[in-house]
């Protein structure tokens, strides 16, 4: 189940979609809108997406996570538009026979999603300032298939 949506993310539905009698472990990650980053106070966030490519990129991620980890089911959802404090911006969930693989696959999936899915975040601060956030530095764990493109372009 892959979703790009302007509506609130239903993490219960997403999690139920990966449950299976073959699975002993399910790991869900939620990325939520945090109020403070150091001293800077966020009022709300705006996410812009390139919808067709974002959906295609998430489908590629599903194929990659299935190829690299022993996962049974995978689901992910990213929201875009205006988000309030505490809202869920992204959810990824995997099921696996054992928990080590579920944690590793879930971590790989969110790390790689953040570096490869064409979505951008604009912070609107409580003091009225706004800015497009820079990309996260790429960590060694984020072995993206198109990593040559990404790694060479990314600030470190």
């Amino acid at each position: 189940m892959i979703e790009l949506t302007q509506q609130p993310i239903d993490f219960t539905l997403l999690t139920e979609s990966v449950r299976s009698h073959q699975a002993g472990a399910v790991v869900l990650f939620l990325g939520t809108v945090r109020e403070f980053t150091g001293e800077a106070r966020t009022a709300w966030l705006e996410y812009e997406a390139f919808p067709e490519m974002a959906t295609a990129a998430m489908q590629r991620l599903e194929a990659e996570v299935r190829a690299q980890f022993s996962v049974i089911e995978v689901a992910m959802s990213h929201r875009y538009g205006q988000l309030a404090l505490g809202d869920i911006a992204v959810a990824v969930v995997v099921s696996s026979p054992h928990r080590a693989q579920a944690f590793e696959a879930g971590r790989w999936l969110i790390d790689t999603l953040k570096h490869s899915v064409p979505i951008w975040k604009k912070e609107h601060y409580a003091d009225g300032r706004m800015e497009w956030l820079p990309a996260e530095p790429v960590k060694s764990s984020g072995a993206v298939s198109h990593s040559e493109t990404i790694d060479s372009e990314q600030p470190e």
């Binding site: 996410y47 490519m53 953040k114 951008w120 975040k121 990309a135 493109t149 990404i150």
Partner: protein, 81 residues
């Protein structure tokens, strides 16, 4: 050939439009499109970091050859999640 470049995020805001039309030689590469875009919109070079390119909804390197039917997009490094 004529190519319409889709722009997103800070690139879209700086250009002031969601897509920008380029006139390029046949079989031009992404590198040539980049040069042409930055000549037309120099503010993109000074006010964004490195720009990424995508062709038909996948990332493309500088040596990728473009066709008139391609969906081409240009945007800053992604920051979702």
């Amino acid at each position: 050939m004529k190519l319409s470049i889709l722009l997103f995020s800070a690139a879209r805001e700086i250009a002031g439009c969601e897509s920008f039309e380029l006139h390029l030689p046949e079989a031009a590469t992404v590198a040539q499109a980049r040069v042409a875009l930055l000549q037309s919109l120099p503010a993109l070079a000074t006010r964004t970091g490195t720009l990424l390119w995508a062709v038909n909804h996948d990332y493309a390197s500088d040596d990728r050859v473009l066709q008139e039917t391609d969906v081409v997009a240009c945007f800053p490094p992604v920051s979702g999640g």
